[in-house]
């Protein structure tokens, strides 16, 4: 029944596009995808809002299209967060079990969690996610809830992701300009990682790399949950930029060449093999060396994977990444990109696939983040996460937000 539903808008404000997906969350915990809107992005560079008005116009257009498509008004937004301003660190804490019979109580769990999360951040930084790693009781890994187990020393670690407060505030205010509240903020990498991997993959260990236009987000799963996340301000638009400079063409022409002839691994041996820009013999049509295009794109893709590998450093061990590397995002459509990733990481790489039964319109790698936002948000809510703990809004607030 509609009156018992909430309409959640999953919003990704990317460098190339703004995507909005509306999900109808019903009381039984399921989500129905009912509307989608997409718009060319403006005023966003490398995942950061640099022109508030342009970014707002583009985002609000996408929100409006999605609302018209769904025929409903959005109640709240789950916002994807990406960009080079995001950083992460690991902090671990331990506490002795309080009870005389060494039974772990909820107070012990809360205490050790609070200790592990309590680390001061530099001025101007704010926490986006606290990602908890598995509990350890007397040095042995235990489940997500160690309450009532017996032991003496309880340990837990958190991977804390923090970002620039001003950058995050800008993206929140872009959404608030549409007069709708941001209900949850989710890392792009966690969103797309949730869509691309199964619980079994995450248990065996998997690395998910989401290569967007302006940023590349990655998440490393171990022991069933996210272990390390990161975001680097390099993406598909840098490939275009390299072609623009290397071949002395306009950005539009470079984009065309990248899509039609770019490859992540050079295949062409013949230096004299040429490709046409348009192929219609029109004025302005030119020829370019196919090998040169492939060399340029290969170099940038290899560099991108090298940066990810360097950022993960000791965390990325092939034995702990048995499920392999999963690639997603718009740039993952580049031919031979899985081979390039396999070459750099030394781990089998595949293109991430959406769960079966997905609508054709959404079954594309560039939409994995918005789909994952709803999926992750729903999981978070079900597990009593941040979204689920929100104070319910009053009648007046609901009326004024137009929901």
């Amino acid at each position: 029944m509609r009156s018992k539903s909430r309409f959640i808008g999953a919003v990704e404000i990317g460098t190339a596009k703004v995507a909005v997906l509306i999900g109808e969350m019903v009381r039984d915990g399921t989500v129905n995808l009912i509307g989608f809107g997409e718009c060319q992005s403006h005023g966003v560079i490398k995942g950061l809002v640099t022109d508030f008005k342009s970014a707002s116009d583009a985002t609000h257009s996408a929100l409006l299209i999605a609302e018209q498509n769904a025929g409903v008004k959005i109640d709240e937004v789950y916002l994807a967060q990406s960009g080079g301003h995001l950083e992460g660190f690991y902090n671990q804490a331990a506490a002795s079990v309080n009870a005389a019979d060494n039974t772990v109580s909820q107070l012990d769990v809360d205490t050790v969690c609070r200790l592990a999360k309590a680390k001061a951040l530099p001025e101007g930084r704010t926490v986006v996610h606290h990602i908890r790693r598995p509990f350890q009781l007397d040095g042995k890994m235990v489940g997500p809830n160690p309450e009532h187990l017996h032991g003496q020393r309880l340990e837990v670690g958190y991977w804390t992701v923090h970002g620039s407060e001003s950058v995050i505030a800008n993206s929140i205010h872009v959404i608030r300009g549409f007069n709708v509240l941001v209900g949850d903020m989710i890392l792009s990498s966690l969103a797309s990682g949730t869509m691309m991997t199964t619980p079994q993959d995450r248990q065996h260990g998997a690395l998910v790399i989401d290569i967007g236009a302006g940023t590349t987000d990655y998440v490393l799963y171990r022991d069933g949950g996210p272990s390390v996340t990161g975001s680097i301000p390099v993406g598909g638009s840098h490939l275009t930029n390299d072609l623009t400079l290397g071949l002395r063409v306009t950005e539009g022409q470079a984009e065309k060449l990248k899509i039609r002839h770019g490859r992540a691994l050079t295949m062409t041996r013949d230096k004299s093999e040429k490709v046409w820009l348009n192929g219609d013999f029109a004025i302005g049509d030119r020829q370019f060396s196919r090998r040169a295009i492939e060399l340029i794109t290969e170099a940038r893709v290899r560099e991108l994977f090298e940066v990810v590998k360097k950022k993960l450093s000791a965390e990325l061990v092939p034995e702990h990444c048995a499920a392999g590397v999963f690639l997603t995002g718009g740039t993952s459509k580049l031919p031979a990109i899985t081979d390039a990733a396999t070459k750099v990481f030394g781990i089998p790489t595949v293109l991430g696939e959406m769960p079966p039964g997905m609508d054709d319109k959404l079954n594309r790698p560039q939409h994995s983040t918005v789909l994952g936002l709803l999926h992750f948000g729903l999981q978070n809510r079900a597990s009593g996460g941040a979204a689920g703990r929100q104070r319910s809004r009053g009648l007046l607030q609901k009326l004024f937000t137009g929901s």
Binding site: D108, T111, A118, T126, R176, N278, A282, I283
Partner: protein, 310 residues
């Protein structure tokens, strides 16, 4: 062990960032949503007040003069229907669509059912029906404006002409001047999806409407030659392809301002006509302002040297 000390450093979460925003910082859409929320609140308060007051009046009338209430509920048969519209629909269409029984009293009319009948036509965006006592029904219509036309089969073997509004609604146009319909270009390269008795709204029409409005206002003489606009490459390449009586293919990019693209097209067509007799086969305005590939109906080896000022 005891609870952790209270002097643990406080980590600031993104949830601590205030989400309040001044209305002046909101976009037009945001402000409209805020206003609608306020109006809804006011309307709720007024409606509750009216219900309360009405209930009190009925109670008072029942208590003091019950005969008066019975007399008030008798309404006269409908005598007049007043139509106000911002479009082209007329009284004949209204009467045909509403299909009223002349003996119906004003109070017997099911306003919601009548409104559904009116809005079932895609041409009507909004319909407001007001009872004006003693015997008049006032109908206010807000109509959609057509942007392009298309041919499709719906419920029969023959293809029919439909009109498409700027919000993507596909509908049977009624009451429009034949000249107006003929002046609209045909729409191609779209996939129509059946929904009920009609079609689902077409996505991406806002950008196409923007292009057509820019062309119609900026270069009306050129726009008059537009025959087909195709959205086939819109989602994949971000291109709108226009076929005119002069040029078989003009490609517009949706990523750049249409005004400058239209201006470039006009300049190229004028300059080409001035410098060469060869007709233009294709103009690609989607690759940016620096270079515009132009193809002429002439062998490649015999091209005139044409360069246009930027």
């Amino acid at each position: 062990m005891s609870a952790p000390p209270d002097d643990l450093p406080k980590t600031r979460s993104w949830r601590d960032i205030p989400q309040e925003i001044a209305p002046r910082r909101m976009s037009t859409v945001g402000r409209r949503r805020l206003t609608m929320g306020a109006v809804r609140t006011l309307a709720t308060v007024v409606a509750l007040g009216a219900i309360g007051w009405g209930g009190f009046e009925i109670w008072r009338t029942l208590k003091n003069d019950p005969q008066r209430l019975a007399a008030m509920s008798d309404s006269r048969p409908l005598e007049e229907i007043k139509l106000t519209t911002d479009g082209v629909l007329d009284d004949a269409w209204l009467r045909r669509t509403m299909d009223l029984d002349p003996s119906d009293g004003l109070m017997e009319l099911d306003i919601f059912a009548l409104r559904s009948k009116l809005t079932a036509s895609g041409q009507v965006r909004q319909a407001v029906l007001v009872r004006e006592f003693p015997a008049t029904l006032k109908v206010l219509l807000e109509e959609r404006s057509p942007v392009v036309r298309l041919k499709a089969r719906l419920g029969g073997p023959d293809a029919r002409t439909f009109l498409v509004a700027h919000d993507g609604t596909v509908y049977d146009g009624e009451g429009y001047e034949t000249m107006l319909v003929r002046s609209m270009p045909w729409l191609g390269g779209v996939r129509l999806i059946r929904e009920g008795e009609g079609f689902q709204p077409l996505p991406g029409m806002e950008q196409l409407t923007d292009l057509i409005a820019t062309a119609r206002n900026g270069v009306p003489r050129r726009y008059a030659t537009w025959r087909v606009v195709s959205m086939e490459r819109m989602s994949s390449d971000g291109q709108i392809v226009v076929q005119t009586t002069e040029v078989p293919e003009i490609i517009f990019g949706v990523r750049e301002d249409f005004y400058s693209q239209i201006a470039r097209m006009d300049l190229i067509l004028a300059e080409t006509k001035r410098r060469t007799a060869a007709p233009v086969r294709s103009i690609d305005l989607s690759v940016g302002a620096a270079q515009v590939p132009v193809a002429l109906h002439q062998p490649p080896g015999n091209l005139p040297d044409i360069s246009f000022p930027r």
